[in-house]
Amino acid sequence: MIIQKEMIAGLFKDLASVKESGKKVVYTFIPGNLSELIRSFDMLPVYPEINALQSGMRKKSGEFIREAERHGHSEDVCTYVKCDVGMMIKGNIGPTGEKLPDPDLLLLSYTGCFTFMKWFETLERLYPGVPVALIQSPYQEDATITPEMTEYMVKQLKEEVIPKMEEVSGQKFDEEKLKGILKLSAEAEDWIVKIFDSTKHRPSPIDAYFAGVYYIGPINIGFRGTQEAVDYYKELYKEVQERIAKGLGPITPEGVMKEEKFRLVVEGPPNWTSFREFWKLFYDRGAVIVASSYTKVGGVYDYGFRHDSEHPLETLAEYCMNCYTNLNLPQRINLLEKCITEYHADGYLTNSIKSCNSFAAGQLMMMRELEERLEIPVGFIETDLVDPRYFSYSNIKNRLESFFEMLEQRLLIEQD
C-alpha cells in the first residue's frame, strides 16, 4: 500500500511540475487506456474519472456535482462527468491539492462506455483549441474480436492517434521503445493475475474488490509498462504469499479480517463517497470479496490476454476491446460464472450504480441468469459512484443484512 501511494503521489507531483519539466499532458480514460503509447512519447496521463473518484473519497464530489448542476447538467446523468466538470469550473485542483495542468491532448479512447464520448465533447468545449484524438473500440457484440475490428483500430492508431501524439509531443513514434514498454506490461499483467488468483485460498488472503481497487491502481493509471509497476506487483505477490502461508485473511482498514464467513463475487463499481463505511459493512460480517467485475474494467486478463510486444499496435487494439465493459452481456455472465465457480463463492452481489448505465443496464438479467445457472444466492444494492446523495447507509445495511442472513441459512443447510 505504501509503495502504491508513493507511485500515485509521484504521478501527481510530476503533473504539478510540467511547467518545469516541459512534459506534455494527455487527458484520457481508464478503460481502454493507451498508457504504453502515451509513455512512449514521454507524456503524462490525467484520468478524469480517477480525479472524480478521488474527489469522492475526499468528500469533495458533492460540491463539484452541485456546481455542474448549477451550470445546466441534469440530476440524471453520470456523476463522474459532473464531478469532473465541477472540479474544472472550480479551478481544477487535483486530489493532492495542487492544480492539475491543462491538457495538451485530449485522447478519447472510449471503450465500453458511450458516456465517455459525451464527456469529451464537454471537455473539448472547456479546453477550446486543444487537439483531440479519437479512437473507437468496436464492441464485442458477437463475443469475439474479428480481424476487421482490429484493423479498424490499428488504422485509427496509425492515422489519428499517433500523428497527433507526434505533433503534440514533438517526438517521432518509436516502435522499438513501445515494444520495450509492452514487454513490461505483460510482466505486470502476469503478476496481477496471480495476485487475484490467490483468492482461491481459504481464507482468501486479499479482498478482490475493496482492496482490489487499490491493487489495480498502478496498472490502470499509467504505470503499466514500467519497471516500477512490475516491482510493485512482485512485492505485492510476495506479501500475499506470506499471508497464505500464515493462513491470514485480508487486511481491512481495521486490521486483519478475523473470520472468513462468506465469499462473494461483486458486480459493479464501488461507491466512493462512503467507501470506508461501505467496506465495513462487509468485513464486520466476515464477508470477503473473492472476485469483482470492477477490477477488470481496465483490462480483462482472466482468459490469457497479455500485451504482445511483437505486434505493438494490434495488441493495443486488442487490449482496448478486451476491457470488461466492452464485453457483451453473455460474455460478462460467463466471466462472472467462471469467477463464482473457480473462487468458490457463496453468493453473488450486484452493486448497481445509479449513474453508470454501462454497468447497470442489464445487471438484473445477469443476476437472474447466474442465479438460475448456479443456484447461488444473489443480492442487490444500489449506490452511486460519487454523488453522496445516493448513498443511503441504512437502506444498504438492511439489504446486506438480509443477504447475509440468506447466505447463513444456505451455508447451514449445506453443512447439514
Binding site: H71, G72, H73, S74, D76, V77, C78, V81, L108, C113, F114, T115, M117, K118, W119, E121, T122, E124, R125, V132, L134, Q136, P138, Y139, E141, E148, Y152, K155, Q156, E159, E160, N328, L329, P330, R332, I333, S352, K354, S355, N357, S358, A360, A361, G362, Q363, L364, M365, E369, E382
Partner: protein, 393 residues
Amino acid sequence: MKSLESIVERCTELAFDLNFTHAKEWKAEEEGRVLVGYMPVYIPREIIHAVNGLAVGIMGAGDRKQIIKGDAYYQSYICHIPRGIIEMALDDNLNDFDGFIFPAICDVIRNLSGMFKVIQKGTFVKYLDLPQNFQSHIGGEFYHKEMEHILEYIEKINGARVTTEKLNHSIELFNHNRRLLEMIYDLRQKYPWRMTNVDLYHIVRAGQVIPVEEHNEILEAVHDHLQKDIGVKQDRIKVVVSGSFCEQPPVGLIKSIEMAGCYVVDDDFMIGSRWIQGDVDDASGNPLKALAEAYISRSPFSSSVYDVDNPKEGRLADLVKKRKADGVIFAAPSFCDPALLDSPILQKGCDDRKIRYIGIQYSENTGQFKVIKEQVGAFSDSIKLWEDEPVAV
C-alpha cells in the same frame, strides 16, 4: 386520392400497432421475406430492403402497453424505452421477427442487444457499431463491413444474395422517401397550420413499420394535400424540438406543446428516417460504399454522433435559422445520458446566439402534461409578448 383525415387515421393505427400486424402480414404474403426489427436511431434500411426484407422500427411501447416484466429487468434510474422493448420481446409482440439490429446510440441500447442474445430472440441479434471516425477509408470501410455482416445474416435466413442493381433500386426508393419527407417538412415550415405535428408524427412513424413503397405513396398523397390551402392560421410561435431522437415522447406531450401555442416546424422524433441529408448515390457500382459515404459525410447532428469537427450547437442554430423558428424546446427523456449531457452544450450555444429555449423532460409513458403545458405556454407567451428581447427562458 384518399382524404388527409383517412390517411392520418390509417397511419395512427399503423404507428402504434405494437403487434406489427401489417409487417407480419407482409412477411406471410411471400416465401423468403424476412422481418428485421431495429431500435432507434438510424440503420441503413436500404440494405434490408435489397434482400427481400422489411426493416421495422421498434420505437418503444410508449404509453400503449402496461409494463410488468420490463420493470423487473431495469432499475428505476434507467430510461423507459428498454422496458417496453423487453416487455414486447418477452410477450408475443416480436414473434415472427427474424432478427434485430441495435444501432450504437448509448450504453442502454447496446446492453439491450446483449439481453436479446440472452433470451435468444430472433435468428440473429446485431449490434451495429456505427463509426465515430468520419474518414472514408477508416470509419467508412469499417461501416461497409458492418453492413456486409447484416447482409450475411439475412442471406443465411432466406438465401437472398444482394446485387448492385437491387441495392441501387432500394437506395432510389429511400432517397425518394427522404425527399418527400423533406418536402413535407418544408411545406409545414411555411404553412404549419395545414397539418398538426401530431398528425405528421403518426405519418412518419407509420413509415417505420410498412414497406417503403407504401410509405412513399402515403407521403406523396400527404404532400399533395399540404399544397392546398387548408387549415386556419393561428397566433403561435414556431419552435424546433430537440432531444427526442430515441425514446419517443408520448403523443400527448407533442399535442400539449402545440396546444400551448407552438407550431413545431422541425423535430428529431424520427430522425432516423431523415438521417441522410440529401440523396445517396443510386447509380454507383458499389452501393454499400455509397451508403457508407453518405453516413460519413451527410449525417445530421445528433447526440449519438461524435461531433469534434462539426459542433452540434452550430448545426442546431443553422436548423433554427433555416426553419425560421422563434425558439427551441429541448425535450429529453429522463435518464437519457446522450440527450441530457448534450443539453448544457446546446443551451450554451443558444445563449451565445441569443436563441430562446426551454427545457423539459419526459418519459415515453408520461401521462400528465399540465405542468409541461403551462411551462411551454409561458415560453410561447414570452416570445409573443417580448419578441424583441432576446432572452432565454
